[in-house]
């Protein structure tokens, strides 16, 4: 109403003064235009800064608590430290060169060096990615994704990886797996980038391939390479505090709104749509996992409910900005059931020790979500192909194939890359603690502290 009133006023003013003061009017219009853009930028920037903070909250304390509660008490600090140190270390890598390798123009597979040392990354927006917010905001928002992705892997090698080996592993992993994969999916000119000139357009709204498949598959390779924890599966390795894990999972759920709805890169109706899909996916997945477990073991567990919600959040991640609410419910429910079967039946069948189920939840959930995105993506939610049909429901069945190709490439890059990196780390620092250190616990043997000093 207000804008149309302004418009009529401007029109009348134009008619009245067309002959006399055209210069004033032009200036007036330009000022109006500038004010409108500034208002939009302020709104978008506010939301994106909050989103960035929410995504950081997913790693610390979210993931650190979720994983920390699932390990034995003697490893709680070591496990939390694996997440926390990445908040610091990946930030430094990102500033020097990581952001550039992921988001500057380069080849189809990896970005160039245009933004190295954050050169030219400042208050001016980058029109290719987010035209209404400072590029610095976009940069720091994407950094939070680069932090949580490697942290997710730590669930697979929990309770037995050497700290120095982990640092070297994560450093190489960022360069060999994450930066290239982020560029391929989100970077300008990347192989799979649907809106910025990718050759095989795949839809990945907030990181099903980049974040969850890469971390989940790398997690599996780590679990296989490092071998089982001492005593697994005969000794008791019960979670030492599901209360801690519960708090962590709830923080993950809330933080995920920044992860997915923030991926709209603006405070737009698309952000709302992604917010709704995210929440629906998590809710349905919690129910799916609990139902499957209830039928199988006779008891609905708290660990099942929170694991289910995380699985749903993972699966809805690539789809969140492309699907309607009911498909989101379906994707979530399917993820809850499938991931439950992965961590119980499949893990039991193969006998690998993915300690905290990073593969069963993120690898499996991420793949399922990426494929179902190809089924349910619709231009009614997000018209990235300018009117052309998007997913299977839009009448474009071949999109499922594109999604599958993107999955295969992520799987392959993560699996091969991780194996090579582990070989290197094994030769340089070693990757596994000694049996004595493992029995003593990582808190004491790696960090010289204990999580719980009741006598103090």
């Amino acid at each position: 109403m207000r804008t149309s009133a302004v418009f009529i006023y401007v029109l009348l003013a134009t008619l009245a003064s067309a002959q006399t003061v055209p210069a004033d009017l032009e200036k007036h219009l330009a000022d109006l235009d500038k004010a409108t853009k500034a208002a939009q930028s302020a709104g978008d920037n506010a939301w994106m800064l909050v989103s960035a903070a929410l995504v950081l909250m997913m790693t610390g304390p979210g993931l650190a608590l979720f994983y920390g509660g699932l390990v034995r008490g003697k490893n709680v600090l070591g496990t939390m430290m694996q997440s926390f140190i990445l908040m610091a270390w990946v930030t430094v890598l990102w500033a020097f060169i990581g952001y550039s390798l992921a988001f500057s123009e380069g080849t189809s597979f990896v970005g160039g060096l245009n933004y190295a040392l954050l050169h030219n990354v400042g208050a001016a927006p980058n029109a290719d990615y987010a035209p209404t917010i400072p590029q610095s905001t976009f940069m720091v928002y994407q950094l939070m994704f680069a932090i949580i992705t490697p942290a997710l892997i730590s669930g697979a090698f929990a309770e037995r990886m050497k700290f120095s080996g982990m640092l070297l592993f994560m450093t190489l992993w960022m360069f060999i797996v994450y930066f290239p994969m982020a560029h391929m999916v989100w970077g300008k000119g990347g192989l799979f980038n649907a809106s910025l000139g990718g050759k095989i357009p795949a839809f990945d709204f907030a990181g099903g391939t980049v974040v969850h498949i890469t971390s989940g598959v790398s997690a599996l390779v780590c679990a296989l390479y490092l071998g089982r924890r001492k005593g697994y599966p005969h000794d008791s390795m019960r979670p030492h505090s599901l209360v801690i894990s519960f708090i962590g999972a709830c923080l993950l759920w809330v933080g995920w709104f920044g992860f997915n709805a923030g991926s709209a890169l603006a405070a737009s109706s698309l952000a709302t749509s992604a917010f709704v899909a995210t929440h629906f996916g998590a809710a349905a997945a919690a129910l799916g996992w609990v139902l499957a477990e209830w039928l199988k073991t006779g008891k609905p567990s708290v660990l099942g409910a929170i694991s289910g919600s995380v699985a749903g959040l993972v699966a809805i991640t690539p789809a969140s900005g492309f699907v309607k609410p009911f498909p989101a419910l379906f994707i979530g429910f399917a993820a809850g059931v499938v991931c439950y079967l992965m961590v119980t039946l499949v893990k039991g069948m193969f006998g690998y020790d993915d300690s905290l189920d990073a593969f069963g939840v993120h690898g499996a959930g991420g793949t399922l979500g990426a494929l179902l995105t190809g089924v349910f993506a619709t231009k009614e939610i997000n018209d990235v192909l300018s009117g052309k049909p998007m997913g299977f429901v839009d009448g474009n069945p071949s999109q499922v194939l594109n999604q599958a190709i993107a999955c295969v490439v992520s799987w392959a890059l993560a699996a091969v890359g991780t194996f090579i990196i582990l070989k290197i780390c094994d030769a340089v620092t070693g990757v596994r603690v000694t049996p004595e250190q493992e029995i003593e616990g990582l808190d004491l043997s790696m960090h010289g502290e204990e999580g719980y000093n009741f006598e103090a």
């Binding site: 019960r238 119980t344 039946l345 893990k347």
Partner: protein, 112 residues
């Protein structure tokens, strides 16, 4: 003097304390312990991994009383700790050679 060691269900501790207080027994030592007798433990399942938890939380009560009161105290203790179900626990009696109060060197029954 007799030493009475009783292993009881944690939720019966308050009943036992009150019952003992009612017959004039004020001193006791309470320990949180884990164990099991004929009562089997329970099963816990975490993401499909089953764990048999055999050692259950119990309370161990220790008190030393004059010979003449031992039977009465044991009876009170057993009655107040009983639920009638498996897992109620056990009571053991021992002879005590001597008791000394650290504050003032009292010995024997006077030290209790």
């Amino acid at each position: 003097m007799k030493k009475i060691e009783a292993i009881i269900q944690p939720h019966k501790l308050d009943d036992v304390k009150e019952a003992l207080k009612a017959i004039g027994i004020d001193g006791m030592t309470v320990l949180e312990v884990r164990g099991h007798g004929r009562q089997k433990g329970h099963k816990e399942v975490y993401r499909g991994m089953e764990y048999q938890v055999d050692l259950l939380p119990k309370i161990k009560l220790e008190l030393v009383v004059p010979d003449g009161r031992a039977e009465e105290v044991v009876r009170t203790l057993v009655t107040s700790a009983r639920t009638g179900k498996i897992g109620d626990g056990k009571v053991f009696l021992y002879d005590v050679a001597e008791a000394i109060r650290i504050r003032n060197d009292d010995r024997g029954d006077a030290a209790l």
